[in-house]
Symmetry: C2
Subunit: 239 residues, 2 copies
C-alpha cells in the first residue's frame, strides 16, 4: 500500500468517527468538539490527520471554528444535507431523518418532471440510447436480481437529469440518487410492484423520444406517484 | 490574534489560491496538481496547511487522490457546483460560467414556484412576519440604497424557501441565494425595473397569506419572469 493510500484510509476513518459522532448526537449542534489533543488520543491519530478530517467536515457544513471556543458543531440547518456523501453516510449509519426522506420525495416530485420535460427537448441520440439501456437493465434483471434492477432504475433517473442539460439538475443527480437508494433500502421488505414501475418508466422514455414535453412531465409525475405509494407504509413505520 | 484565527487565515488563503488555480484552469480537469513540496514552496505554507486545504477542496468535489498519480483535478461535472461557497468564489473571482447562470435561472423557475405553493400551505405567522419585513425592506430602501434593497430581496426569497418546510428546498436557499446575488451583480449596470419587481413580490406574499396555493405558484413564476427579462441583455453579453 502506498503512503497516499494509507493516509487516505486513516482520513476516511477519522472522518467517519467524527462525522458519525455528530450525526448521532454524541456532539450535539451548538456544542463544542473536544480539543485536538483529546480527539487525537481518542482516535489514535496524528494532529495532521485530525485537522484534515476537521477541514473536510467543515467543508460539509457540520462544524466551524469559533473564536475562543474552538470547533463547534453547527446548527442542523447549516449542514449540507444535499451533499451526496453526507446522504450516503446517513444511509450507511442508519441516521436517516424521516423528515428528510419525505422532503426528498417531495423535491423529486418537483424536479424530476421538470427535468423530463427539458430532456424531451434536449436529449441527444446518445442520451436516448443510455435511457434505453437503463430500462432494459431493469427489465432483464426482474424478478431475479432486485439489486441490479435498482441500479438500473437509479441509472435511468440520473440519465434524465443529465439529459435535461441543466447544470443545476445534473448536479442534483447525486442527491436524488442518494434519495432513491434510501427509498430502495427502506422499501426492500415491501413486495415492490415492479411490473407497474417498469411500465411507468417505459412511458416516460417514449414521451422523451417523441419530444413531447407535457407528456414527459406528466408521466414522470405518475412514475413518482407509483414510487411514493410503494413507500408510504414504510414511511409511516419510520415516523 | 489567536493561533486558531491565524491558522484560519492561512487556510482561507491556501484554499483560495489552490481553488482559483483550478477554477481558472491553471490546473485543468483531468490533470495532476503539482506535488506537495512544490505547492508548499509556491504558497510558502507548511505541509499541514496545504493538506488541510487539499482536504477542503476534495470535499467540494474539485480534486481527488488517485493511486500512483497523487492529487488530480476532477472533471467539471464532479464539482459541487451548487455549493454556496463554490458559487460565491466563482462570483468573487469572476469565473462565472454563463451556462451555470442560465441553469440557475431555469432551476429557480422550477423550484421557487413550487416552494411558494408549499409556503402557502405551511407558512406560520412568524414566517409571514419575516416575509412582510423583507418586503418592507425592499420598499424602504428604494430607490436610494440599491444594495440594501437587493439584500431584502434575497431575504424574501430565502424566507419563502424556508417557509416551504421542505428540507431540500430550505437547503437550496444557499444556492439560490448565490444565484440571486450573481444576478444582481450582473444586472447592476441595468436600470432595474424595481417598481414592477416590488409589485410582483407583494402579489406573492398576498397569495401565501391567503393560503392560495395555485396563485402563490403562478405569481412566483411571474416574478421570476420579470427578473429574467431584466437579466437577458446582460446574459447575451456574457455569452
Amino acid at each position: 500500500m502506498t503512503a497516499l493510500a494509507l493516509r487516505a484510509g486513516v482520513h476516511r476513518d477519522v472522518v467517519r468517527r467524527l462525522g458519525l459522532g455528530i450525526l448521532e448526537g454524541t456532539w450535539p449542534p451548538g456544542g463544542r468538539l473536544p480539543n485536538e489533543a483529546d480527539l487525537c488520543a481518542r482516535f489514535q491519530v496524528s494532529r495532521t490527520a485530525l485537522r484534515e478530517a476537521v477541514r473536510f467536515l467543515a467543508a460539509k457544513g457540520l462544524i466551524e471554528a469559533r473564536p475562543r471556543l474552538g470547533m463547534v458543531v453547527r446548527a442542523r440547518d447549516s449542514w449540507n444535507l444535499l451533499d451526496p456523501q453526507l446522504l450516503a453516510w446517513q444511509r450507511e449509519w442508519g441516521t436517516f431523518d424521516p423528515d428528510l426522506v419525505r422532503s426528498l420525495l417531495e423535491a423529486r416530485r418537483v424536479v424530476e418532471p421538470a427535468a423530463a420535460a427539458m430532456a424531451a427537448e434536449r436529449a441527444t441520440a446518445a442520451d436516448l440510447a443510455r435511457l434505453e439501456a437503463a430500462l432494459l437493465g431493469m427489465v432483464r434483471n426482474l424478478p431475479g436480481d432486485l439489486d441490479a434492477c435498482c441500479k438500473a432504475d437509479l441509472a435511468f433517473h440520473r440519465e434524465i437529469l443529465a439529459a435535461s442539460r441543466n447544470l443545476v439538475f445534473a448536479q442534483l443527480a447525486g442527491t436524488i440518487g442518494a434519495a432513491l437508494e434510501a427509498s430502495f433500502r427502506i422499501s426492500t421488505e415491501l413486495s415492490r410492484s415492479y411490473e407497474r414501475t417498469i411500465e411507468a418508466h417505459r412511458d416516460v422514455l417514449e414521451a422523451i423520444r417523441l419530444r413531447d414535453r407535457p407528456a414527459a412531465e406528466a408521466r414522470m409525475r405518475a412514475l413518482i406517484d407509483v414510487a411514493q405509494a410503494d413507500l408510504e407504509p414504510a414511511l409511516r413505520e419510520l415516523a
